[in-house]
Structure formats: structure tokens, C-alpha cells
């Protein structure tokens, strides 16, 4: 077996792609906060993402680099997860008759990582249909990002907001374990630094979830309209 096809090799692929996705998510979260500056600033930020690097680079260069990079990272992340999960099911074919609650350092991850991932994938599909392609969003003008956000989280569309928040909870648990797990896989810190990494992961997860959640909540409760 080639080293990169081993369990650890695949795990490194999952970790590296995961780190790239985390960096994207942090940037995305920070960018969303432009909504609090008002319609013009938010739309100018969105337009700026499209015109970034012009005239040296063609229109939407940054977006296409990001899109291709994200698709590659998501593909590697999911593919390695599927292969490793299948191997894990094969490695543990019989359940124990007697169940005890998990007691490991990252015990919450046992129940949240794989199912949370499914929730996140479903959310991303909806999110693209809603706020990227606008298939299910009443605001079709792609230059009006602000209007689309306001329409997406209109109080009448409260199930969308609830789903968004639910997906954020799944994302939060995913990050809380995923970030330190990626560091453990790539860098293999000692006990002291592992504990610190776990604390940093929790902090990043809380900040990311709060930063994302504040936007739909502000729209639903009328602070942004």
C-alpha cells in the first residue's frame, strides 16, 4: 500500500483540505459582517470580490480561483472521509451489547462529526441555491447581495433561518473537533500543545458560529432590513 493511501495518509489529506476550508469559512464569516454597514457597502464588498485584481487580472479571477480551490478541497475532504468511514465500519463490524457513554477527550465528536457533515452538505446545497444561484431566492439581481440576504432571512421564511442556525450548530461541533484533530494529524503536538489546540479550536468554533449566526438573526429580528 502506498503511504498516502494508508489511514494516516488519507487523514492528512482530510486535515489539509479541512484547514483550507476553515480558512475560507473564517474569511466568509468576516465578509458577511459588511451587511451591518448597509446596502451600499455590502454590495460594494460583493462587487469588489468580483473585480479583485483588475485590471491586471480578468474579471472574477479571485472568485474562480476560490471556486476551483473550494471544489477541490471539498472533494478531497469528503472522499477521504468516505473511504476512512468505510474502513472504520469494516474494522468495527460488531457492536457491544452493553453501551457506555463515550469518555475520550473529544467524546462529543463520536456522535457529531459524521452526521454533522451530512447536515453541512445539505446546508451548502441549499445555501448555493439560495444566496449564490438565487434559484430559491426572490432577489434575482446578483449585484444586490444585501437584498438577497434580507429576503433570505425574512421573518416569513423562518424555517430557512432555523435550518441555517441548525447547520451552524453542526458546523460548530465540526470545527471544535476538526481543527484540533487536523493539527494532531499534521503536526502531532505534545500534550501541552494538544490541550492548547483544543482550547483554540473551541474558541474558533464559537467565534465562527456567532459571527455567522448574527446576520440571519439580525435580519429576522428587523435590525437589518
Amino acid at each position: 500500500m502506498k503511504p498516502w493511501r494508508s489511514n494516516i495518509g488519507l487523514k492528512i489529506a482530510m486535515a489539509v483540505s479541512g484547514v483550507l476550508l476553515v480558512l475560507f469559512i473564517i474569511a466568509h464569516m468576516a465578509g458577511n459582517l459588511h451587511v451591518f454597514e448597509g446596502r451600499e457597502e455590502m454590495n460594494a464588498y460583493a462587487a469588489g470580490l468580483r473585480s479583485f485584481g483588475e485590471p491586471l487580472l480578468p474579471h472574477e479571477s479571485l472568485l474562480w480561483i476560490m471556486r476551483i480551490g473550494l471544489i477541490a478541497a471539498v472533494a478531497v475532504h469528503i472522499w477521504s472521509a468516505v473511504v476512512l468511514t468505510r474502513r472504520a465500519l469494516h474494522a468495527r463490524p460488531v457492536r457491544y451489547a452493553s453501551k457506555k457513554p463515550a469518555r475520550g477527550e473529544s467524546r462529543h465528536a463520536v456522535a457529531t462529526m459524521r452526521w454533522g457533515a451530512v447536515v453541512i452538505v445539505l446546508f451548502v446545497v441549499w445555501h448555493l441555491l439560495d444566496l449564490t444561484w438565487r434559484t430559491v431566492n426572490p432577489v434575482k439581481d446578483i449585484h444586490d447581495a444585501y437584498g438577497a440576504v434580507v429576503a433570505a432571512f425574512d421573518p416569513d421564511r423562518w424555517p430557512v433561518t432555523v435550518f441555517y442556525l441548525l447547520a451552524l450548530v453542526a458546523l460548530g461541533f465540526h470545527l471544535r473537533h476538526g481543527i484540533w484533530s487536523a493539527v494532531q494529524t499534521i503536526a502531532g503536538p505534545n500534550t501541552k500543545w494538544r490541550k492548547r489546540t483544543q482550547a483554540i479550536s473551541l474558541a474558533v468554533a464559537v467565534v465562527v458560529v456567532a459571527g455567522f449566526a448574527i446576520v440571519p438573526l439580525a435580519v429576522t429580528f428587523g435590525l437589518v432590513s
Binding site: 500500500m1 503511504p3 498516502w4 494508508s6 489511514n7 494516516i8 495518509g9 488519507l10 487523514k11 492528512i12 476512512l84 474502513r87 472504520a88 469494516h90 474494522a91 468495527r92 463490524p93 460488531v94 457492536r95 457491544y96 451489547a97 452493553s98 453501551k99 457506555k100 463515550a102 469518555r103 475520550g104 477527550e105 473529544s106 467524546r107 465528536a109 463520536v110 462529526m113 473537533h177 484540533w180 484533530s181 494532531q184 494529524t185 499534521i186 503536526a187 502531532g188 503536538p189 505534545n190 500534550t191 494538544r194
Partner: protein, 248 residues
Amino acid sequence: MKLSLRIWRQPDAATKGEMVSYEIDEVSEDASFLEMLDVLNERLIAEGGDPVAFDHDCREGICGACSLVIDGQPHGPQAATTTCQLHMRKFRDGDQIDIEPWRAGAFPVVKDLVVDRSAFDQIIQAGGYISAPTGTAPDAHAVPIPKQDADAAFAAAACIGCGACVAACPNGSGMLFMGAKVAHLGLTPQGQPERATRVLGMVAAHDEAGFGGCTNVGECAAACPKEIGLDVIGQLNRDFRKAAARAA
């Protein structure tokens, strides 16, 4: 004390097993868990039945032969304790206790509570050793080792290879065992010549034997009777990454 036991009975590897209930009375609080099973077995033999097969050897907590998942926990409810060192005073009169074998694809059941752990031997054969000339043993202090490294290597060397880490892991992974060996041998000067081939060989043998991958949930370290921590898995990941990059 009086106990009701539910024990996994399976005549051989090919036959389907099941949990079978046994009532046992007058168990001494001072008996070890294995002695309690000895008492049960003596009764079963006297009744003309088939005694419960389980692994045991030194009964001093250092050989790694004993196993048993007791109430869903490898080596039972007491932390940092092997089954042979677990005593019945940790249980209460009237308790129901479930006793199962290690569950892992790489550890097939041989009979009842006995599993085949030779997959661990394959991992050791693939790199869990050092090469040293025999005949003239060097003085113990001939090669100085920093105290910090010696302590870390010694802590990893406490692994008795019982397989509780695999039994506890939701992915049936042997990474804690493998990490303990990689850390134990890789932190000393004697382990350096084979450091890269060791980790690549052991990882290949581990996956080949059907162990799963690590998801860093930490169930292994919580179950380890020798309290080996997740830092050895970090060491394993680091050694593997370096060795694989050099081999590529």
C-alpha cells in the same frame, strides 16, 4: 455478594455467539474479576458444562494477556487498571455485569471471550524492534539520553499490548498501540537507524490487518490501563509524515 452475569458465549470462530445469563452467589469482595470467573467456571465444570474461555496470564497487570469488555468498558470501570487487577469490591451486591470480548475486525473471536490478537504481532514484526549487535553488551550509560526523552520513551514503553485501545475505539483503530511503539523506540538513540522504515512498515501492517483509522476522539487513551496518552498518536503522525515525504 450476588451477581447476575451476561457473558458472550461462542463455541468457535465459525459459530454465531450470544449473550448467556448466569447467576453467581457468595462472591468475595476481595476476589479479582478473573477469580470470580474462575469460581463460575469451577461450578460450570462440576455441572458438566463448558467453562467460559478467557485470556489471562500473569494476573499482576503487566503481561497484557487479560482482556474483557466489562459493562461496555475495556478492562472494566476502574481507570488505569487491567481486568486481572480489578476487584469485586468495585461492584455492588445485585449488580448485573455484561462481559464481552474485544470487538474489532482485526481481532476475531477464537472462543467465548478469547480473541486472536496476532494482528498486533504483525505490526511488531513490521518494525517494532531495533537491530543491535549481540555478544558485547555496552555499558548502560555508554549512550547518554536526555532525561525528558528517557521519561517519554519509558512512559510509552509501559504499553502491554493488551488491545484495550482497539476495543474502545469506535473505528477499531490500533493507532494508540502503534504510536506507543513508535514513541518508545523512536525517542531513544538505539531506535534511530530504523525510525523511518519502522513507521512506514508498521502503518502498512496495521492497515493490512484491517484496523481502522484514527479520528482523535480519545476513547483509546481513556481505556488504556497504562494511561498512554494521545501524544503518542501525535508522534506517530509526525514520524509517518516525515518518513512518507522522504520515501515519496
